[in-house]
Symmetry: C2
Subunit: 113 residues, 2 copies
Amino acid sequence: MNRDRAVTSLAALAQASRLDAFRHLVQAGPGGLAAGELAGKLGISPPALSFHLRGLAQAGLVRSRQQGRFVYYSAAYDAMQSLVDFLTENCCGGSACAPARAPARKSTTRRTA
Amino acid sequence: MNRDRAVTSLAALAQASRLDAFRHLVQAGPGGLAAGELAGKLGISPPALSFHLRGLAQAGLVRSRQQGRFVYYSAAYDAMQSLVDFLTENCCGGSACAPARAPARKSTTRRTA
DNA sequence: CAAACAATTAAACATTTATTTAACTATTGA
DNA sequence: TCAATAGTTAAATAAATGTTTAATTGTTTG
């Protein structure tokens, strides 16, 4: 993660419809949701959703796969985690401090909730 | 944390100068940095910095305290943590999944890096 | 192949956001 | 009190973003 990619990701999440969409996808799990289904849940028009999903996809926060005439979108958990790690990186100049959480790892962070 | 506050926070971070400013403050620790010092590090004009810090402060991501003729800004770690928790909330519908980290707690999250 | 459905693209418009220059407020100290 | 320093506010402009309606692409099924 670098500064510019982080800005792109944050901008993608910094809008009500897109944040709602992303959270719905995060909560839906790896299977994701079809675009139309998501538009219904969010109460926005298909063109508006398309516009917003494009932003999320360009930021790498969601992925899409086509299945028949449906397009399923799902959250990219790893991208979200990279973003979070970037924000807290080198917190307090490296000294121990309250807000620090588990340090960023290169491999998958396996930690059950 | 709620949806609208999250959008405000994300929007505050979704701009290069503001993200740089915030990260400098995160890394500076609780003491923070004087506005002018920060403007120098970021290479932006005092009015521009003022404009951006106002956005971060309104989002609750930074605090300021005046000391003589200097104004010191520091990162609000708790606000940042609330935002991160909100993004990963109820991940995968509650079932255990790779991206999940330590669950959000109401009290202070004490976990040394 | 034609009709219906799922989704994206295009174009026009309104709204927000960022940057710049100049003016202003407050604090320190000669 | 006057000049200098630190920072914010104001106003004007330039640039990016979001919303809407209509048209388009691709897929299934009668």
